[in-house]
Amino acid sequence: MIEVQDLHKAFGAVKAVDGVGFRAEDGRVTGLLGPNGAGKTTTLRMLYTLMKPDQGHVRVDGFDAGTDTVEVRRRLGVLPDARGIYKRLTARENIRYFAELQGLDPATTRTREDALISALGMEDIADRRTEGFSQGQRVKTAIARALIHDPRNVILDEPTNGLDVMATRAMRAFLRQLRDEGRCVLFSSHIMQEVAALCDHIIVIAKGRVMAEGSPDELRARTGEVNLEDAFVKIIGSDEGFFG
């Protein structure tokens, strides 16, 4: 479970995150929806301890990200916005590198690695060097290495970015599977269809603030709009937000 309280982060005069708070429960897919530049990536970066908040708290399974940094990282599987993999290593070597950094023993690594490779359908590419991988193959490798330590909480920054239709569908199925295993899945997106198709709980962010929160049905009911897209536009206050 991930709890976020009143997060603030400014870069110079720009307030990227201005008082964000929410809870992402276990066994649920939580979507962070917002236009480009809304503060989604910065919020996530504070969650996985890459950045320190100016103010506010992040707790993962009850551990504070500011004080129990290493424990928090152990409990998180992260697919950041930057998902570079090492192109001179094979997919399996990429995964094992992170397994060792997570402190897994070789036997556990072996089991987890095989499970992830088959769950992601990457048996045919596992022992190839990742140079020349397609976008989808790279994302699969990045996800496998992020989840090698079997984390209870999974954070993904725009996980379907750059994926084709088939890969996107596979990704959605995979995220549902993670949820059904009882994990806390938190992902960000600026694509409404995606959030609508996948999320049990939606947090709408714009200009560094949480504008609304709830299940898709709750959001529709609250705004009085039948169409989810219209609901979002209403929440954010203008359609400019999505392009601005």
Binding site: L50, R73, P80, G84, Y86, R88, L101, G103, R145
Partner: protein, 392 residues
């Protein structure tokens, strides 16, 4: 379970060993360039010197008929008398001839009168070869002059030693190794430069490169303190530099026996033990170079920026070597606590088959590693900066 720094070290080494460009530069071209260059230079020098010593000196002579006995003497000194060019001054200026000997009637007159007989050596001292030819010809003429002079003294009943009250004898204390050391004075610079060059690609690849390829952010999401990540990368950089140096020395060991050193009366003091000592001497500089490069590369905004900065940094090891070339100094203990200078002096000592004192060893190792530690500390602080992973 492996410690995190070891995991990172192994991964960086393995990844970079698979990079053809890095391997070629750090482990093939880098180590070869110094030894091959010096091999070529030395063999050129040796063949030139031996040619000159054995080859007869050809000297055009004007008016050979005025001094037949002198000319005969010159012939016994491995000098070939040649017909003179029409304009000897011009021939010398245009480097057609190294030196031309001119004898005329004044020589005969003075000789018969018992005066000092003049003759002209026409040459151009701004040409190295001409200067050598002139010296050889002059020595031959002088030896004839002193023979004749001695005979004249004897004819007057005077012992020739009377006019030579002093005879200076050269006693050169230079060992063959020390003379070889003179030729190896480029070695400290080559090796110190190697310490900087060998790890440069890794320093850039593991920091600025990793950020540019967007793999630094996922890496930092692992439960490993950032300073340990940096330590693993620093060690990988150092290991490549060490490997590069080791290969440089091996290349020297392979090339040296092919050089005709004995012809020059030289001996290169290079052996396994000396190599081991050299590597130990260089260790602080290797770690120091790796720390400085990591610090700079982590601070740079892009791969290219890191590359140009590190290119500049490579000029630093040249400073002590150049200073020592201009101002030769007698090594003092304090100099061994100045990194780079210490390495330069120590390697020269090893090459000259002199021993490095215990105090000098501790000064050079402690000062170098201490400075490297300080720089690494600042590099670790840069790693702890929030902006490290985020290229904005």
């Amino acid at each position: 379970m492996k410690p995190a720094w070891l995991t990172i070290f192994i991964k960086e080494v393995r990844e970079n060993l698979r990079d053809r460009k890095t391997v070629l530069n750090a482990l093939v071209l880098g180590p070869l360039i110094g030894p091959v260059l010096i091999g070529l230079i030395l063999s050129a020098v040796v063949s030139r010197e031996s040619n000159r010593a054995e080859k007869p000196l050809e000297v055009p002579v004007i008016g050979a008929e005025f001094a037949p006995t002198l000319i005969n003497h010159l012939r016994t000194q491995n000098i070939v008398i040649e017909p003179a060019p029409a304009d000897p001054e011009r021939a010398v200026r245009e480097q057609d001839e190294d030196v031309v000997l001119r004898i005329d009637q004044r020589f005969v007159d003075a000789w018969q009168a018992g005066d000092s007989a003049p003759l002209d050596l026409i040459y151009d001292s701004s040409h190295q070869d001409a200067e050598r030819a002139r010296r050889r010809l002059e020595a031959a003429i002088n030896s004839y002059a002193s023979q004749v002079g001695a005979l004249r003294l004897v004819a007057r009943g005077i012992h020739p030693v009377i006019v030579r009250p002093i005879s200076a004898v050269d006693r050169d204390q230079a060992s063959a190794e020390a003379k070889g050391g003179l030729f190896l004075s480029f070695l400290p610079y080559t090796l110190i430069l190697g310490a900087f060059m060998g790890g440069m690609y890794l320093a850039i690849d593991t920091t600025a490169g990793e950020r540019e390829r967007q793999s630094l952010e996922p890496l930092l999401a692992n439960p490993v303190p950032r300073w340990k990540i940096m330590a693993g990368k620093l060690l990988a950089t150092s290991a490549f530099a060490m490997m590069s140096l080791l290969l440089t020395l091996v290349a020297f060991a392979v090339i040296t026996p092919m050089l005709p050193l004995d012809k020059l009366g030289l001996k290169f003091n290079l052996g396994v033990l000396i190599f081991a000592k050299m590597l130990l001497v260089l260790t602080p500089v290797v770690v120091l170079a790796a720390s400085v490069q990591t610090l700079i590369a982590a601070n740079a905004k892009s791969y290219r920026e890191a590359q140009s900065w590190l290119g500049l940094i490579t000029l630093i090891p040249a400073i002590p070597s150049m200073l020592l070339m201009v101002i030769p100094v007698k090594p003092a203990l304090w100099m061994f606590s100045v990194p780079l200078l210490a390495q330069h002096l120590s390697i020269m000592k090893l090459v000259r088959a002199e021993s490095i004192a215990g105090s000098e060893w501790s000064a050079l190792l402690l000062s170098g590693l201490l400075l490297a530690g300080i720089v690494a500390f600042f590099a670790a602080r840069i790693y702890n900066r929030e902006g490290l992973a985020v290229s904005t």
